[in-house]
């Protein structure tokens, strides 16, 4: 029930922020910020209900992980929502979040699958860390999308468009860099924690290979993007394109691996 309320709020707030692209008033923005906080509160409540009902952090299934990813991403966007110039990023994030919520909400049920194993805390920490990293990549992907749109508007000289009131390119590049760096740090931590968990549980590499390889591939893509930025000064468009490629890869790997190898992580589900 609360997840449905969260979905409705995400959709409404998303529509509100899209309207804000064309109707820029402070009062309207104040209302939208309030709605955004309400979204997170209701989504957080739904998450805690799910947690309480299942007796464990709800990250055992792909849908639960996605649910948490949306919550984490919403939290990661808060600093930008409260900054006037970057608040408009929500117009790009919230509709995507609503669509994902619409897909996962029906299958979010408490206690559908239970984590077990003596070292499950490692697993939970690993998952939290990876999802936090992915949330930062969501921010980076949104910033990249907005960067590419805004850059196109500037290059074509269409700066008279209402849509052109997007954050300045250097600001978007800063957000992109910051979220990539934080995401990369979280993913790296998550991979180390995952390795510790697998080793403590005595899990064979072969059973977790697809996800480990997918994770390593993503890690390499984002690592490359950061490296190129420092080494040869890749800023702006190129970083945005690599980030978007990495993000699409992340989505495809998440969907593909979970569909093809549902228990590939070797976690015992009762």
């Amino acid at each position: 029930m609360t997840i449905t309320a969260a979905f409705i709020l995400y959709t409404l707030t998303g529509l509100g922020f899209i309207t804000y692209l064309f109707l820029r008033t402070d009062t309207f923005l104040f209302g939208l910020r309030t709605l955004y906080c309400l979204c997170i509160a209701v989504h957080g409540l739904s998450f805690s209900i799910l947690w309480q009902a299942s007796g464990q952090l709800p990250v055992a299934t792909p849908t639960e992980a996605l649910n948490m990813l949306i919550l984490f991403s919403s939290l990661a966007f808060i600093p930008f929502i409260f900054k006037r110039k970057t608040a408009i990023l929500a117009a790009f994030f919230l509709p995507a979040a609503s669509i994902v919520l619409a897909f996962i909400a029906p299958s979010l049920q408490a206690g559908s699958e239970v984590l077990s194993g003596p070292h499950r805390t490692w697993y939970v920490l690993h998952t939290l860390s990876v999802i936090a990293g992915e949330a930062f990549f969501v921010v980076a992907a949104i910033a990249s999308t907005v960067y590419l749109i805004h850059e196109r508007i500037i290059r074509k000289g269409s700066i008279h468009l209402k849509l052109s009131h997007l954050p300045p390119l250097t600001m978007l590049d800063g957000i992109l860099y910051g979220s990539l760096a934080l995401g990369f740090f979280s993913i790296t931590t998550g991979m180390i924690l995952g390795g510790l968990w697998a080793s403590a549980e005595g899990i064979a590499f072969s059973s977790i290979a697809p996800k480990v390889l997918a994770g390593a591939l993503l890690w390499a893509v984002f690592g490359l993007s950061l490296h190129q930025r420092f080494a040869i000064g890749w800023k702006g468009r190129r970083t945005a394109i690599i980030t978007l490629i990495g993000f699409v890869l992340m989505v495809l790997l998440f969907v593909g691996i979970n569909a093809a190898f549902p228990e590939s992580h070797g976690i015992r589900l009762i």
Binding site: G157, I159, H160, P168, G233, W234, K235, G236
Partner: protein, 411 residues
């Protein structure tokens, strides 16, 4: 009711060779004013306007003829005469930049305020024109805030600032490199400085000219030989030289971008022939705009300004109607009527919500009415003896007869 009249010699009515001859000063206007008349003159490069009340149009034309040396027929042919509502509307249109050559430009408002200060110093305006000008400034402000007419820059410098803000955010922290020290470059650099650019560097073939412009703008003059190095630090480059060959090549920009670690750079090339090789725009994170690209943006902005101007006209209609109503109230007859209406409202207010024994209410009302009439006798006699706008305005202010003053009183 006093009528406001206006003679306007502007870019629509007169060619530049006539416009440049006509200038009307407030000191000269004072010569033809008497105690009941007022006048205000506005002189810009595109227009000369004279507004007045209580004068004969022939008198004003004679003054302009005398000051400009133009013949009467020529002057009448090159000007338009407006009276009453039309002149008020015209004043508001001028203040808002809706009658300007560059639709919606804001410079005119500043010029009008300067002219008003001169008029106040010379004592040529009084109650009516003071109010009209304040209303005109107010209408201009409303148009600026309630319509998007000012959101579409149409000058090269404004374009440069706008583009820079889209890329860098605030331009205060960015370095502006001006290549060339001619008029175009100077104007653009000045506008950029006015819009917040703090670090100005000027490069010119003749270093002495660059030094002069740098002194004028508070920037730094740099030798022309250092142009390639300057591209490394300059974030906004405005170039306008008379060179027949490009002075900024693709290789120069590519080398600078490498040293800049691909920090974005905007190059605005307003020179014809172009100062920057077209291929330079292909360099990563280099945003190059030549005069044609800028003109295309300006054309689109003009189209937007025209559509916003339609909204602005409705504000003009509203504000000029309000002013017209106020002007109408400036007659002794209307003011006396308003005073009696105020008296009736007060009496009704005092008697409302109270119960009185049979017949006492009427008695009390008669008593109150007689008292109020005695009280109003003096201002009414004063109005009849002094029917001028200034005295009527005094009475209206004292009794808060106008919405504006009532609002202020409440506030």
């Amino acid at each position: 009711m006093e009528r406001i009249c206006c003679i306007s010699i502007n870019h629509r009515t007169a060619p530049v060779d006539i416009r440049e001859r006509i200038r009307v000063g407030h000191e000269e206007l004072r010569e033809i004013l008497d105690k009941d008349s007022e006048a205000f003159a506005l002189n810009t490069c595109n227009r000369t306007e004279v507004y007045w009340t209580g004068l004969d149009v022939v008198e004003v034309y004679r003054l302009i003829e005398r000051l400009s040396g133009c013949e009467e027929d020529m002057l009448r042919g090159a000007s338009e005469f407006l009276a009453g509502k039309e002149s008020i509307r015209h004043l508001f249109m001028v203040a808002s930049g809706l009658d300007s050559l560059v639709l919606g430009e804001t410079q005119i408002l500043g010029q009008m305020k300067d002219a008003y200060r001169e008029a106040l110093a010379a004592g040529t305006t009084d109650t009516i024109l003071n109010k009209a000008l304040h209303r005109a400034f107010r209408a201009a402000k409303r148009i600026r805030t309630e319509t998007g007419i000012g959101s579409y820059p149409v000058s090269v410098a404004s374009q440069a600032v706008d583009l820079a803000e889209h890329i860098f955010g605030e331009i205060g922290g960015n370095t502006v490199l001006v290549v060339g020290a001619g008029d175009m470059a100077g104007i653009a650099a000045k506008r950029l400085r006015d819009r917040g650019a703090k670090h100005l560097r000027i490069v010119n073939r003749t270093h002495a000219t660059a030094c002069m412009l740098a002194d004028e703008l508070g920037g730094i003059a740099v030798p022309f030989e250092n142009l390639a190095e300057e591209l490394v630090t300059g974030d906004i480059v405005i170039t306008s030289t008379g060179s027949v060959r490009p002075i900024i090549t693709r290789d120069m920009v590519a080398a600078a971008m490498k040293l800049r670690k691909n920090r974005p750079i905007i190059i605005i090339d307003i020179a014809v022939p172009r100062d920057v090789e077209e291929a330079a725009g292909k360099c990563y994170n280099c945003y190059l705009y030549d005069i044609d690209a800028l003109k295309a943006i300006v054309d689109r902005h003009f189209a937007h300004r025209e559509s916003e101007a339609k909204k602005a006209v409705s504000i003009i209609e509203e504000e000029s109607a309000k002013f017209g109503a106020w002007l109408e109230s400036l007659s002794a007859r209307v003011t006396i009527r308003d005073l009696f209406a105020l008296m009736d409202a007060h009496i009704a207010d005092q008697l409302s919500g109270q119960s009185f024994p049979e017949g006492e209410k009427e008695l009390l009302e008669q008593h109150l009415r007689a008292s109020y009439k005695r009280l109003l006798h003096r201002p009414i006699s004063f109005l009849k003896g002094h029917p001028g706008a200034r005295y009527i305005e005094y009475v209206r202010r004292v009794f808060l007869l106008d919405e504006d003053y009532t609002d202020r009183h409440k506030g």
